[in-house]
Amino acid sequence: MSVMSEFFSFLRKNTLALAGGIILLLLVLLIVFGPVITPYSPTKLDVLHKLTAPSWSHWLGTDAFGRDVLTRIMHGGRATLSIGVGVVAIAFVVGVSLGMLAGFAGGWTDTVIMRIVDAILAFPALVLAIALAAAFGPSLENAMLAVAITLAPQFARVARSQALSISVKPYVEAAISLGLPTPRILFRYVFVNGLGPLLVQSTLALGSAILQTASLGFLGLGAQPPMAEWGADVSANLQFVRAAAWVALAPGMAILLAVLSFNLIGDSLADWFNPRRRSELN
């Protein structure tokens, strides 16, 4: 059986992975096609219809400015999910490059890089993200950068341990003895062969990235009004929650579903890359 068909057969047997995939697919469909279908604008004010309860015309009701909550979730989802992917992409490139270099080069390079990594890991991730975002100034781009800085060390750790175990393999030694340039050895042999655990890390980091960026948005350090973003929307609607619970609960539930889907998929990928767990599940 090929690796791909074995993987899909594993997925079919793994209900939780399937559930994660379905939730993610539905969310992606909602945020890709929803904004095209909805007749409402995410930012246009309609004070005559403020805080109306869920109904046929407004499935999740309206917020304090009369904006359709579902439409805000669809647009906010575009922001939240693309932020998550962007943050993980930055953290992946920076973290993996540094981790691979540290593991492959060893010596002082390894010591210096890993002490910096340890220092960043000495902060609770959200605390450092909040402090950095506060220093950079409240904006979505700065929040993304702040979260990426806190996530990169985790990638560096995984990449380093992969590099350490792969760089002593005979095919890497052969590549070194052939005189191939270091960047090529790092990418072609070390990176490609250590990709599995990094993929698991990326999926799990997507959940963390969304949670952290939403938390920064909730504290007013991420997306700024009137932009739709899930975390910021929960925070903006908190004061109306007693009169209209849905305005804050709906974007909050959207965050939960997105993070849950990535955690479900990440967990299953971790099982897939763990030979013992894979054979148990098969």
Binding site: A122, I130, A131, A134, L221, R242, L256
Partner: protein
């Protein structure tokens, strides 16, 4: 053991130096001239100069850093731009509230998380196992502010069983002794204060504990499943030991060691969560203090609270290492 702790502390020195550089640089990350940015467009040159002097920005960069570290070593965390009070003093006042909340949350998480993990692992793929796995996954995926909102709505707004926010009812006069509200109530015999403090603790503790309990439950389950497949478990069963004996004395004991690391590491994440939880529940700890500082752009306070959170985390990781050594004979042997 003492030499192990000493070596661990020495190994921390380079990491703590970089931590200090990061915290020190926070103000320097502010785009443009931090003094101008902090004071806003209406500030006079004299005000700007005064703030530059207060933040040491008129000195050279290395001198600024040495002054900062020198001050820290003498317990000087700077002065709050908002209140004019020493940051160290304001943090010390608020620290007991954060510790009270975090420690209680850890205890609750351990009491809930470990038994759930053990029960799940001893009945793998049962209905109970499936339900707890899904609930745990929801727990780790739940934003703290959403869970807080739901609990406030249900238990405070709709049912009226618990207070929405705060640390104690405003009608109660309590005499501070240690700063820990429940303990102070008990020491002074003020039962109303102790009871009110406990009621106010329930919801924020539940929010903070949920994430750790879920993580711990998942971790203990997975570790137990691996341990229960080991040879020494088969030997224990072959010796004719009872099921409870095998699970508790052989399975759980060997699964708990790695769980200590998880509790330690996740404690740090929980501290991050304390900023959100304390803000939502108007809990007067250092998390809320940091949030208010961010709103007021009070950078000495942001630096001070960030450093305290990092110190708490590093301190926890040392305790975890030492505990590991105490509990695991193999690690203890390596220490010697």
């Amino acid at each position: 053991m003492a030499s192990f702790i000493l070596r661990r502390l020495i190994a921390l020195i380079p990491v703590m130096c970089i931590v200090l550089v990061i915290v020190f640089s926070l103000v320097r990350f502010i785009p443009g001239d931090p003094a101008v940015t902090l004071l806003g467009p209406g500030a006079t040159q004299a005000q700007i100069d005064a703030l530059r002097a207060q933040l040491d920005l008129d000195q050279s960069f290395p001198l600024q850093f040495f002054n900062y570290v020198g001050g820290l070593l003498q317990g000087d965390f700077g002065v709050s731009l908002k209140t004019g009070q020493p940051v160290a003093h304001e943090i010390l006042i608020r620290l007991p509230a954060t510790i009270e909340l975090s420690v209680l949350a850890v205890i609750v998480a351990i009491i809930i998380g470990i038994p759930i993990g053990v029960l799940s692992a001893t009945r793998p793929n049962s209905i109970f196992d499936h339900i707890t796995r899904v609930v745990s996954l929801v727990g780790v995926s739940m934003p703290a502010f959403l869970l807080a909102l739901i609990l406030q709505l249900v238990f405070a707004t709709y049912l009226g069983w618990l207070p929405v926010s705060g640390r104690m009812s405003s009608f109660i006069v309590a005499e501070p002794v240690t700063g820990f509200a429940i303990l102070d109530g008990l020491i002074t015999g003020n039962w109303a204060a102790a009871s009110s403090a406990l009621q106010h603790l329930i919801l924020p503790t539940a929010v903070l504990a949920a994430f750790l309990a879920a993580t711990l439950g998942r971790f203990v389950r997975n570790t137990m499943l691996e341990v229960m497949g080991e040879d020494f478990i088969r030997t224990a069963k072959a010796k004719g030991l009872g099921r409870a004996d095998v699970i508790l004395n052989h399975g759980l004991r060997n699964s708990l060691l790695p769980a200590i690391t998880v509790v330690g590491l996740k404690f740090a994440e929980m501290l991050g969560g304390a900023i959100l939880t304390e803000t939502i529940f108007a809990w007067p700890g250092i998390g809320r203090y940091m949030f208010e500082a961010i709103k007021n752009r009070d950078y000495p306070v942001i630096q001070g609270t960030t450093l305290v959170f990092a110190l708490l985390f590093v301190f926890t990781s040392i305790i975890v290492d030492v505990l590991y050594g105490v509990l695991d004979p193999r690690v203890r042997k390596r220490m010697k």
